[in-house]
């Protein structure tokens, strides 16, 4: 159909009738989508496990099922990448809904590994004292029981555990896998909801301090829904602008190289106001997910209230998925608009870096501290995003991979330090921890140094990569602000280290629980990745470099 043939709705209807008759059967490339499909399948199987497997076997069944699913999915990602889908064979699959390319595979791999490590912390059952003969994890005995009620006591007494967290985790992971690879706006939105809803639920499931946990979940849900509404509105506006939700088509309209114009939208098409407002609103939804200022307010409350394993997983994997989606949106859909969004993102990056770092200084709770730290890191990553160069993409990919393992590891350490009320997250209780438990304190110190970006840790390599990309991409002032914020941030990271190693231990101080191999593995992987990416980052930088090209 040529554009000149379009006169009115009638003629299009006539011609449009023509393609309907030869509509193609939808073609789904199952192989290329296998990582997501495996995880979704395992999640559904997990629901069935909940329904049919006796209670006392569920934990092990779920753990094995989830672990296997994540590993198999990761293997699938690796095989796809080895097959060249990340580079030469990059393509758009599932009728234009999903992109299979370097960034998608890299981020999916990262998410799957982070989820695997997060899964281990979910499954940890040695930290809390046994309740009525049952080993319990960090999750509520029965989510539906009202905190402090008799039914809650009954559930605890009965030794219930919420093994539903495993399928919930898998659903969230499935959504996250789709999110950075979504190639049209509807898929993007669906993925957003698919991974957000299980996270809202997971946030509410803390075993201790349940009211706080539920409050956090409600806040997260309300604000998340609020942000989703903005996103959806933005999607509608963009559709109005481009007549399509497909990334490729929108990009073509933005560039002015569009071929097929949908006559129904001829009036609004190319209206730049729609484009600008729509793009800003979608970006805002993504900035909410990464926790950028001023859309960050949920972060500290939710990070603090959520069960710590959930916080760790959420902080790491959500950030990876959301930044992946943001990258794809800005680099695939809106590159023609970069003169409009770059200055705005500059502003967001600057206030995010400074805001996160500055407010973190006065925090007294380790989980809130790490929440603000994650905000500051979102700012650093944004600096790499703004570079709009291939280096920008690969540096962000590397940063995300490095950051997610540090984060999960750090939160896993937080789960170990406990007193009678559960986790002792107030910083004053951490005084002198280095004298009592030098190993745990040293491990946390490694993570904190990585957060601070000290050389020989992955944090340094990542920060160096994004700042270098930003500077070369013409955002040198951003780098200056970034370095200043890093200096401010270093203060509170080092302060925790000083507190742990150079203060007198408190007599009523917390004890350090001895974890099962699961948490040990999570922390160990975190330390190993931190040091390997810090000492010998080149291989992974190359990998990220190879994976740095989007398909359109």
């Amino acid at each position: 159909m040529s554009a000149s043939a379009v006169h009115s709705l009638w003629t299009t209807a006539a011609t449009a009738a023509d393609p309907i008759s030869k509509i193609d059967t939808p073609k789904i490339e199952y192989g290329q989508l296998s990582p997501t499909l495996i995880v979704v399948g395992a999640a559904i199987a997990g629901v069935l496990v909940e329904a049919f497997v006796p209670r006392k076997y569920r934990y092990h069944a779920q753990l094995i099922l989830s672990t296997a699913a994540l590993i198999v999915a990761f293997v699938a990602v690796v095989m796809l990448a080895a097959d060249g889908y990340g580079t030469t064979k990059a393509r758009i699959a599932a009728m234009g809904a999903i992109a299979v390319d370097g960034p998608a595979l890299f981020l999916q791999g990262t998410i799957l590994l982070a989820a695997l490590v997060g899964l281990f912390t979910f499954a940890e059952r040695r930290l809390d004292p046994e309740a009525h003969g049952t080993r319990v994890d960090s999750f509520a005995a029965q989510a539906a029981s009202v905190p402090g009620s008799e039914s809650e006591q009954a559930a605890v007494k009965a030794g219930f555990t919420t093994t539903e967290v495993f399928p919930l985790l898998l659903f969230a992971v499935a959504g996250m896998l789709v999110f950075p690879s979504a190639n049209d706006l509807l898929t993007l939105f669906i993925a957003l909801e698919v991974f957000s809803l299980p996270l809202y639920l997971l946030c509410a499931l803390a075993r201790r301090k349940r009211l706080m946990s539920q409050e956090a979940a409600v806040k997260y849900f309300l604000l998340g829904a609020f942000a989703s509404a903005f996103t959806l509105f933005g999607i509608a506006l963009l559709y109005g602008y481009a007549g399509s939700v497909s990334y490729g088509t929108i990009a073509q309209v933005v560039d002015g190289t569009v071929q097929n114009v949908n006559p129904a939208l001829a009036d609004t098409m190319g209206n730049d106001a729609l484009l600008l407002v729509g793009a800003a609103l979608i970006v805002m939804g993504l900035l909410f997910k990464v926790g950028a200022v001023p859309f960050h307010m949920w972060t500290p409350d939710v990070y603090q209230g959520a069960p710590t394993p959930v916080t760790g997983f959420m902080a790491a994997a959500t950030k990876v998925a959301a930044f992946g989606a943001l990258l794809r949106l800005l680099y695939v859909v809106l590159p023609g608009l970069r003169w409009d969004w770059r200055p705005v993102m500059w502003g967001v990056a600057i206030i995010t870096m400074l805001g996160g770092a500055i407010v973190a200084i006065t925090q007294t709770d380790i989980k809130r501290l790490l929440a603000y730290s994650s905000i500051a890191h979102a700012g650093f990553i944004l600096a790499g995003v703004i570079a709009t160069t291939p280096d920008g993409v690969s540096s962000v990919l590397f940063y995300l991979a490095a950051y997610s393992f540090v984060t999960i590891g750090a939160f896993a350490v937080v789960t170990l330090v406990r007193d009678a009320g559960g986790e002792a997250t107030h910083l004053s209780k951490w005084a002198g921890l280095g004298r009592r438990s030098p190993l745990v304190a040293a491990v946390l110190a490694v993570f904190l140094l990585a957060f601070a970006g000290i050389p020989l840790t992955s944090g340094f390599a990542g920060k160096f990569a994004v700042f270098k990309a930003a500077a070369e991409g013409g955002a040198a002032p951003l780098v200056v602000v970034g370095v200043i914020s890093s200096a401010i941030a270093a203060f509170f990271y080092i302060r925790v280290i000083v507190l742990m190693f150079f203060s007198e231990p408190r007599p009523d101080g917390p004890t350090v629980a001895v974890p099962s191999p699961l948490t040990v593995m999570a922390i160990g992987v975190g330390v190993a990745v931190t040091l390997v990416l810090g000492v010998a980052p080149q291989y992974f930088l190359d990998l990220a470099n190879q994976a740095g090209v989007f398909v359109r």
Partner: protein, 654 residues
């Protein structure tokens, strides 16, 4: 043959490693291991020397490339060696004199518990010094340069339990840092100017002209002055001379080996090696001659006033190296004679120091010459060898010093013009003073009445310099005796060198022909005939000896030093060098640091703390925004979204 060069260094390096790492098991044999490996190095040196002699004069440069040290694109540093006539001369001096001093130390350090370590350090020194003279680029030379500095530090402070020794070691190290800074800057300048610091391309090799002459005179002058600064530090030249006197706190063999015969001549080596650079920078050469002339007088005057035998000899060392530096500054007229004097000085000064050590060994480690006297009867071998060294250093006709020093004085006059007269005059004056103070040392030690009788030598105010050899009875009257053979044999060998080396080198201009291909040589244009200069030198010699004899030979020497004239008192205090350094550098530095600390406390800390406080305050205020109400969070998000949209639209508008 080239492959032996690395072994030359490897032997003492191995010794150092074995002795320092080996532990107590080697305590019994340590000294012999050290001496053996030093001798191995000497023998290797002799083999290579024979090989060089067998070649034609143009073909006497051996190079050995060991490995690529720092291969960065434009910055190539290799570990490679270059053995030519100049470095060969040094190798023989270092290993030859070094081996003799190792042997001597076997006797001298016999009763020291930490003997093994001492020999380890000596071997370390040899290895570093050999690296210094064999390196084929300045960066590797710098490694050796620092290595000898380290060894020197360790050996000066060998008796570290004595605060004076520890302080002296620190002082030597610190003063040398100033010079080392010069060398490192010089290397950097070379790299930026020429793009290389290897001897081959820079100074020329195998008949090819180096590129050192291609740079502008200004740059060459800068490089040359920095090299001179380095030389001043290592060779104890004014103004970096203050450490050498204190360095005598080290064991006497160390004084002989490092602080008289070899290491302190490294500066002269550096200047002569860099001849191509200095030749292109006449201004810098003038500075070199001035430094040399000033130092030769300075050291000589200090030497006149010291009652401590080692410190008197230290002043003399400073002065003699001043001669060498003066000669090196004269350019091609003087390079060869600088090195020749360096070698002969290596013989007689090492001999003198070993003699001094022998005297101290027999005198309960007393170092005050006023408590010596008449020792010639008790220590005949020491007396004879020391005496021959004495005759050599004052330039007694026919002995080594006569030939080498005379050439330098001639060369100084040959510089021509007013400079020539002034420099030559200084050199002549120096010769007179040398004769005076050395005669003084000789007379006070070996002649006159036996002032050590009827009094214990160790007074509480004057603790011995050599406490480790405290096996002699405390507070007992000394019983002067000759030292054991292991100590006297090296002294005898060195005495032979003191007597014959100069003549051997000079007859038929052997040394000149040997070294000329490396350093180049030109006859100057002397306003005086050779005979006139020699005559004048002889007159100076006689005057110096005569005055000394009148003062110390004919009159009894008071045991307690008289107050002396102003100059004497100043000279006893090393011509106020330490006072000067203290007032100008230490006080000045203190003032500077104090004011910097003040600025740091008020201004810098103020800014830093102020920033921290304001960031903290800001943090506290921003924190209040986080009030826990989802509604205000939503408002913030809404506001943020509005700003985001507005900003995006605004960007399009502008």
């Amino acid at each position: 043959m080239e492959n032996l060069i690395a072994l030359l260094i490897a032997a003492p390096l191995l010794g150092a490693a074995v002795l320092l790492v080996g532990g107590r098991r080697l305590d019994a044999v340590g000294q012999w291991v050290g001496t053996l490996l030093s001798t191995v190095s000497f023998v290797l040196g002799l083999v290579l020397f024979g090989d060089l002699l067998g070649r034609s004069a143009e073909d006497r440069t051996l190079t050995q490339h060991l490995f690529s040290w720092i291969p960065v694109e434009g910055f190539q540093a290799d570990v490679g060696f270059r053995l030519d006539q100049l470095s060969m001369t040094f190798v023989l001096l270092i290993t030859g004199v070094g081996s003799l001093i190792h042997l001597y130390s076997v006797g001298y350090m016999e009763h020291d518990e930490r003997r093994r370590r001492f020999f380890g350090y000596l071997n370390l020194f040899l290895a570093a010094m050999l690296l210094l003279v064999l390196a084929d680029n300045y960066l590797l030379l710098y490694v050796g340069w620092e290595g000898v500095g380290l060894a020197s530090y360790l050996l000066i402070g060998f008796w570290q339990h004595k605060p004076s020794a520890a302080t002296a070691a620190k002082k030597a190290f610190l003063v040398n840092r100033v010079g080392d800074m010069g060398l490192s800057i010089a290397i950097m300048l070379m790299f930026t100017t020429f793009g290389t610091f290897a001897f081959g391309p820079l100074l020329g090799a195998e008949g090819q002209q180096g590129i050192a002459g291609d740079a502008s005179e200004g740059k060459l002058t800068a490089i040359a002055l920095m090299l001179l600064l380095a030389a001043c530090g290592k060779s104890a030249q004014v103004p970096l001379q203050s450490w050498l006197g204190d360095a005598m706190e080290g064991p006497t063999p160390v004084s002989a080996l490092i602080h008289a015969a070899t290491m302190v001549t490294a500066g002269v080596y550096l200047i002569v090696r860099s001849a191509a650079i200095f030749n292109g920078a006449p201004d810098a050469q003038l500075v070199v001659t001035v430094v040399g002339a000033v130092t030769l007088l300075f050291g000589a005057i200090v030497g006149c006033a010291k009652d401590d035998i080692k410190k008197a000899l230290a002043g003399s060392t400073m002065s003699q190296i001043g001669y060498m530096v003066l000669a090196a500054g004269l350019g091609p007229i003087g390079y060869v004679f600088a090195i020749m004097h360096l070698v002969t000085h290596g013989f007689f000064k090492a001999g003198l120091f070993l003699g001094a050590g022998s005297v101290m060994h027999g005198m309960n480690d007393e170092v005050d010459m006023r408590k010596y006297g008449g020792l010639r009867k008790y220590m005949p071998v020491t007396f004879v060898t020391f005496g021959l060294g004495y005759l050599a250093i004052i330039g007694f006709p026919g002995l080594s010093g006569f030939f080498s020093k005379d050439k330098i004085i001639e060369a100084a006059f040959a510089k021509g013009g007013a400079e020539g007269w002034i420099l030559g005059g200084c050199a002549l004056l120096g010769a007179a003073i040398t004769a005076y103070y050395m005669t003084r040392v000789m007379l006070m030690t070996f002649f006159g009445e036996e002032r050590w009788k009827n009094q214990p030598t160790r007074s509480p105010e004057a603790p011995s310099a050599e406490p480790a050899a405290a096996h002699h009875g405390e507070h007992a009257e000394p019983h002067p005796h000759e030292s054991p053979k292991v100590m006297t044999i090296p002294m005898i060998v060195l005495a032979f060198g003191s007597v014959f080396a100069g003549g051997f080198f000079s007859i038929g201009d052997r040394f000149l022909h040997w070294l000329e291909p490396v350093t180049g040589h030109s006859e100057g244009d002397s306003p005086l005939s050779v005979a006139a200069v020699t005559g004048a030198t002889m007159v100076c010699l006689v005057i110096g000896v005569g005055i000394a004899y009148a003062q110390y030979g004919r009159r009894p020497v008071p045991v307690v030093a008289p107050r002396g004239s102003l100059l004497t008192r100043a000279a006893r205090r090393d011509l106020l060098q330490d006072d000067f350094n203290h007032v100008v550098l230490v006080r000045g530095g203190e003032h500077l640091t104090r004011s910097l600390v003040y600025v740091d406390h008020t201004l810098v800390d103020g800014v830093v703390n102020g920033t921290a406080a304001s960031v903290g305050g800001l943090s506290g205020r921003l924190r209040r925004l986080q009030n826990g109400f989802a509604r205000s969070y939503a408002v913030s998000m809404f506001g943020g979204a509005a700003v985001l949209v507005a900003a995006t639209l605004l960007m399009r508008a502008v």
